[in-house]
Subunit: 343 residues, 4 copies
Amino acid sequence: MTARKSFASDNHAGAHEAVLRMMARVNAGDAASYGDDPWTEQACASIQELFGALGGVFLVFNGTAANVLGISLLLRPYEAVILPEGAHLNVDECGAAERVLGSKLLTVPTPDGKLTPALIAGRLGDRGDVHRAQPRAVAISQVTECGTCYTLQELRALGEFCRSEGLRLYADGARLANAAAHLGCSLADIAAPMDVLSFGGTKNGAAGVEAVVVMAEDLVTDAPFQRKQQMQLASKMRYLAAQFLGLLEDGLWLRNAAHANLMARRLADGIRGVLGVELWQAVESNAVFASLGPDQIERLQREWEFYVWDEPAHVVRWMTAFDTTEADVDAFAAAVRAMADGS
Amino acid sequence: MTARKSFASDNHAGAHEAVLRMMARVNAGDAASYGDDPWTEQACASIQELFGALGGVFLVFNGTAANVLGISLLLRPYEAVILPEGAHLNVDECGAAERVLGSKLLTVPTPDGKLTPALIAGRLGDRGDVHRAQPRAVAISQVTECGTCYTLQELRALGEFCRSEGLRLYADGARLANAAAHLGCSLADIAAPMDVLSFGGTKNGAAGVEAVVVMAEDLVTDAPFQRKQQMQLASKMRYLAAQFLGLLEDGLWLRNAAHANLMARRLADGIRGVLGVELWQAVESNAVFASLGPDQIERLQREWEFYVWDEPAHVVRWMTAFDTTEADVDAFAAAVRAMADGS
Amino acid sequence: MTARKSFASDNHAGAHEAVLRMMARVNAGDAASYGDDPWTEQACASIQELFGALGGVFLVFNGTAANVLGISLLLRPYEAVILPEGAHLNVDECGAAERVLGSKLLTVPTPDGKLTPALIAGRLGDRGDVHRAQPRAVAISQVTECGTCYTLQELRALGEFCRSEGLRLYADGARLANAAAHLGCSLADIAAPMDVLSFGGTKNGAAGVEAVVVMAEDLVTDAPFQRKQQMQLASKMRYLAAQFLGLLEDGLWLRNAAHANLMARRLADGIRGVLGVELWQAVESNAVFASLGPDQIERLQREWEFYVWDEPAHVVRWMTAFDTTEADVDAFAAAVRAMADGS
Amino acid sequence: MTARKSFASDNHAGAHEAVLRMMARVNAGDAASYGDDPWTEQACASIQELFGALGGVFLVFNGTAANVLGISLLLRPYEAVILPEGAHLNVDECGAAERVLGSKLLTVPTPDGKLTPALIAGRLGDRGDVHRAQPRAVAISQVTECGTCYTLQELRALGEFCRSEGLRLYADGARLANAAAHLGCSLADIAAPMDVLSFGGTKNGAAGVEAVVVMAEDLVTDAPFQRKQQMQLASKMRYLAAQFLGLLEDGLWLRNAAHANLMARRLADGIRGVLGVELWQAVESNAVFASLGPDQIERLQREWEFYVWDEPAHVVRWMTAFDTTEADVDAFAAAVRAMADGS
């Protein structure tokens, strides 16, 4: 609740008014519960079509749940997931995967948040050894935790590698819309190499909803039961569906994401050449990662809200959102420049 | 989506307009995520005060999650929950407790959905025997699955028995508001004997939110972490909080519940004396359980929506909601009477 | 450590000398660990042949582990096991199935420890309902917890029913040898209708070993990994294998079991007509269940060791073992008779 | 089953004859099951005294189980273990900790298998952050996976650090006897800084038994139930106890370990100066880690059994055991030298 726009997280933003409007619109009268309502059917059908998914679409409450449900469709109890060390699933979900799935996460250090076939291959040495949890799924994030995007070519290469190795490919798509906007491609293009992926609503203007998109038809049987058992089945599902209906109307999801990306780009441009400020990662979504001088961080945080990503390296993360304005960005960039001049 | 009011479930109803209005009101501008916002603080503080809870209040997405989170605060891995065989936690949650908690549920048959000290005692024979999961918590539902309510005296007796036996007492309060309305008491009166309980919003006019209320201060430490790990931490928490703020304003939660109860009472009165129709349980909430002739059920279901509760016994369940009108009830009661005349 | 033979449990007996002799015999020199040794190969091959198992055989440390590993091959996380309320898996394993598998156990009351197609059918009502854990496996015990045996016809009927319903059939065979001895049939006859079953060594003269026998070839893939993950892979496996080699030599397993059965039969005969003593179950294995007068139990327990099975019903359980002698039985029967005369 | 002594693993060795002799000695007559027998009491009391343990001692079947049971006494569900990346618990137990405990393992790369306060501190950054599994236990191995030993000073420093940070300290003591022999100290000296640790029998001449030693009295309550639930309670416990009784008699455990260590030392000495062969780690137990030329490995493995530890680095592991003879070592060392000369 600061007067100044928060650059801390895209979930500091509220919901887009179209989302709330749609929630109000579905409110009249009775509706069958647990997803047997026309709005859920419509939202899921639309998403399924956008992704070209042969399996189905399952709405859940948040991103942690989307990841855990998605992964649960891919693993037997003794099978493991290969994923980047910094993955949300590994670092930011309080051990939900270990607790709910009982699965081991096989982490791989990455400089930019991206897995490659070579990095995955480095984790496959012990397949068939009964003493080792067996690698069976690969989990990437698109957009990555570092704000970078896999190119379509990279995704295809991952998909081909996984298929050739008998691995399943999952993508955490909490910011998938931002990736689509950055790549200028369809969601189906991104999703094609995947077995299961999530499609985030919350960070892109929803109040709180994510979709688990099952691409492969043979993986869908368990999904309704797993969702319920994982405590993610909404009784009044229409209010989850409505949020996606709002985002899907006239491509709002893409406009929101493209705008947020543009604001990140504008911020990166606005601080170009500022003394002591260096971009740490390419700006390929709605995130700007930069390294600052240590006392620069502290001074800037007195007036602006954002996270320090890597304390020892003085790397900060600045997120934009669908409702970040050019004025917000310009004011913040000016603050960064002023701080540098004053240092 | 029938023109006729559904009597199938109180979650067929939409959200109360005050709830949606409050969601729109909290929408403006940024807010800290994951509950560090003023609305969450206000909603939780209000609920905590209503319950006289020394621990704290934790918002979650649905009733299954409230039960699992609540129970998780009470058990070590080898400890078990004693609960009625028909409990939602046992029957309707797809094994979430077993999966997420790994805990055994020790079920007790009950005629009316209510546990008693004697029924609980019958499950305590093997304490200390290393071969047996150790009973440690008792889970009741208030309102019960049979639509009945424990009296305050019954609750106190359960609480005293549990304390004397070193057991923890949990209550599934998905319809706790209806119980308070029926008993004419405060939420604190009901909650006093409990260690942890849930306070349902969804069935009482919310779009989708429940609160886990931790009465005992020493049980609260784990709760924030367990909630996150159990995939129930909302990033844009303000939209969960807003729903409770809407329900708490001017005691809307109690008016909604009292109205729903009244409509159930009116329905029970409206079918009194109808041939072949017998109440199966006392009407103490927003549910009417009745036995009908087998072909009566089928005929009535052609035009009205409701669930058969017990197929062999021809018992049906008719639920009312905050938005059930007197006209809805009267039309339905007339249909029941007409069906009986025609049989 | 009483001078008098214990009738409390067949695991109060020691190991048969042939078992210890074989353990000493395999002791010389090095052997590959984790089961890649010739004795394990030989023991498992022999058991596989005795059962006509197409899958494979996996040695584990104890009966709880055999049940949990066996069941784990049959279930997805949201699937449940139908089993008798009194099953060891439900009552005597401290919730291991819930903890390790996360699976729900759907219990059925039975008068004699036996499931029937009708009893199983009564638990199948909610298949496909996403709110319910989905019944997928049926677990019986042969010998049952009540000392009774399914006939081959009953087993076949269960097998056919399960196949027709898409259910998997598991048998806890902690006392399978006693069942084979009672029925006068081969292990393959008993095993034919099963998908997976256990074959107990410990209660039949081993020091501590059980085998999980996988009948169906398509169920075996997971077994080596599940056994390791479930902490049941012995590094020096030869000492588990040796125990079975000892029991398999010259059909010792069958002679041990037949003898124990005979001693139970002799005990039942020896107390026939004693005032106040009634058989509670048919004597079909190495167990005699009888009801006594309440103070008879107490007096008898002053000098003899046995368990009270059902306190309120004054039912006791008397177990014989491979090393129970005729003299042991006769002395005990005399004590029962003397007690009755004295009362 | 090679005529040549295996240098692959200390569990390729058989059991010491004193162990088998003791198993035969406890065999006579009945004994109460599940550990209520005099031999179990004696073995556990002796171990407890050797360690100065205030809690208690619990026998289990294997090392994986000892680790999982030991760790289970230390953690709440959302709490995590800090441990070396190469720890057996992390790498060699097929994800048992994740499956059975649902706990996250926080791995730390180490050059020599040893944790330090500084390495642990690097994993403590996010305590209190609800998004992160909370570090609560530290698990070391003594002897480490690299064959090295913590000094008593290092152990004390770890203990003090853990206490000051509110962390619990666990040690995987599968080869604890070898550490005691190397350090020339008592087991109590090693155990003093620990909360829980395991004491391995299997690799030191037993047929298959490990002890979980609970140092802290307040941690012992759960242990009997956790052991049973984790499928590690032997019914005929006397045969586990007997193995330890055999090892404890006249300090056989220490002599076995000292001998194995001596043989490793002799091997290291015997290959000193061989061209192309370099020790990779200090020889502080019964393991010799050495780097060889790649085709040297292949040639040596044609006739001798051992594992390649690190394929790309050409590091091999040579293990000695209680029954490795000087002649075995000398023959093997000669083979290493011959191979080097021939290359």
